[in-house]
């Protein structure tokens, strides 16, 4: 159900952009206004969401410890899966954000003949990593179209990405990997019963959207080619605040741009905020040193307690009878 809603939504967006540009000629709307609004929503929305999380307190220091804690010098501790200081936390977070440490730990449990069998399962980690890194490299690559003078490092990334020099223009490995990984992520949502059960429209929508972006990009580069020089002029126009969306650049470019705009605008309102949230997760970004350094709860409440005096008042006679010392005889 959620899958169909999401598919129709993305298909609708594509049709909308096609009709809007091709039939109605709304180049300025799709080529300037919407991208600006989307970008604004993304940056402000993202920052606002993170800010809101920041206004929530961290009352307790509760890292999920994933290895031996620091204790005696003769016990080998796991400094990064169970960090006891800030440096360890930085490494733990880097491993988490850059290498998906927790997913790498993933296991799969199945029942065979009334017995539970556990085994390692790294597919999600592998394709998840592939998906995110492809996306990142593609994002960076696109800066050749955002900056008038293309910096050398972007050209290097690009030449590495097109290393095999297959096809013309060279096929980017990341294009293939992004599509493959997104397809994998989609396929597991459809094929694995547990994952299908937990998936909602909000899970399919970004996948379809990103697949739509990737495919429209690939079409634009290899199949329904657009004048890349003209495309860059539209983009440079945007970043230099002199928008001049041109009708000479093919409609596929505007569809691509519209899908990207949708992704940007949708981002802060969605689960995609895990990008910001992963940095703020108190089970990962705190050191396991609660017994060494006191953690202060900003709203530490005054609570009603049962004092020793009240206790002794109730049990004094019984205590005296068995020789337990008391404060008041």
């Amino acid at each position: 159900m959620g899958m169909y809603v999401a598919f129709l939504a993305v298909a609708g967006l594509i049709v909308l952009a096609f009709l809007g540009v091709q039939a109605a000629g709304l180049h300025f709307l799709f080529g300037a206004l919407i991208p600006y609004i989307a970008f604004f929503l993304f940056v402000i929305g993202f920052a606002y969401r993170v800010f809101l999380w920041g206004t929530s307190a961290v009352p307790f220091r509760i890292p999920t410890t994933a290895g031996q804690m620091q204790s005696f010098p003769w016990v080998k501790s796991n400094k990064f899966d169970n960090p006891s200081n800030g440096f360890g936390v930085v490494i733990r977070m880097a491993l988490e954000v850059l290498l998906f440490r927790s997913l790498f730990r993933n296991t799969k449990s199945e029942i065979h003949d009334g017995r539970l069998i556990h085994g390692s399962d790294k597919w999600l980690w592998l394709f998840g990593l592939m998906f995110h890194y492809s996306f990142l490299i593609i994002f960076i690559r696109h800066f050749r179209l955002f900056l008038e003078n293309v910096p050398g490092f972007i050209l290097i990334i690009e030449s590495l990405d097109g290393f095999f020099q297959a096809g013309v223009p060279f096929v980017y490995l990341t294009d293939l990997m992004l599509v493959a990984a997104a397809t994998f992520l989609f396929a597991r949502r459809v094929l694995l019963p547990q994952i299908r059960y937990i998936s909602m429209a909000a899970d399919y929508f970004p996948l379809f959207l990103i697949l739509g972006i990737a495919i429209s990009g690939i079409l634009m580069r290899y199949f329904i080619r657009v004048d890349i020089t003209g495309a860059k002029q539209v983009i440079i126009g945007l970043v230099s605040f002199q928008p001049a969306p041109s009708a000479e650049v093919g409609v596929i470019f505007y569809i691509h741009l519209f899908l990207v705009s949708t992704l940007l605008a949708y981002f802060p309102f969605s689960k995609l905020m895990h990008f910001g949230g992963v940095f703020l997760s108190p089970t990962r970004n705190l050191a396991n040193n609660s017994r060494m350094v006191r953690h202060v709860n900003p709203w530490n409440p005054d609570v009603h307690v049962h004092t020793y005096a009240e206790y002794e008042d109730e049990f004094r006679d019984k205590m005296k009878k068995v020789g337990i010392p008391v404060e008041k005889e």
Binding site: V50, G54, P59, V168, V239, F241, Q242, F279
Partner: protein, 131 residues
């Protein structure tokens, strides 16, 4: 605990990165690359017409060159019949570069602008230009 400082710092970095293209783009005009067709051979042409129409050449020249290469190198076929019926020798140096003898002022203009790095000149010898 709130860790407000770290969050604000992170957000500043985020906004800074997002704003970077705009900061670089600010104040700069949108200078179009202007590939020059000012060569003796083109000047001498009666009707200034490439192998195919200009719009087609813009988006398809890389594919055409690739097809030409494959056709010549693999099949030994050198004859290209254009949409308008004209026949051309499939040759980068003898056909394309004959007119567009100004690589720096023609090819490179757009290629540098969009950061494309064609590998034509890995094998072919790039024309030496005086101008």
């Amino acid at each position: 605990m709130y860790n407000g400082g770290k969050i604000i710092l992170g957000l500043i970095v985020f906004i800074g990165l997002m704003a970077a293209p705009f900061i670089f783009g600010l104040g700069k005009g949108n200078a179009k690359p202007n590939p020059s067709i000012d060569t003796p051979a083109i000047k001498a042409m009666e009707k200034k017409q490439c192998v195919e129409a200009k719009a087609v050449m813009k988006t398809e020249h890389m594919k055409m060159l690739n097809d030409w290469r494959d056709s010549v190198v693999r099949d030994g076929k050198r004859l290209y019949v254009a949409t308008d019926g004209k026949k051309y020798d499939m040759s980068l140096q003898n056909t394309c570069m004959k007119c567009h003898s100004n690589k720096a002022q023609f090819c490179d203009k757009c290629h540098i602008y969009v950061g494309a790095k064609p590998y034509c000149w890995d094998c072919h010898i790039a024309p030496k230009e005086g101008a």
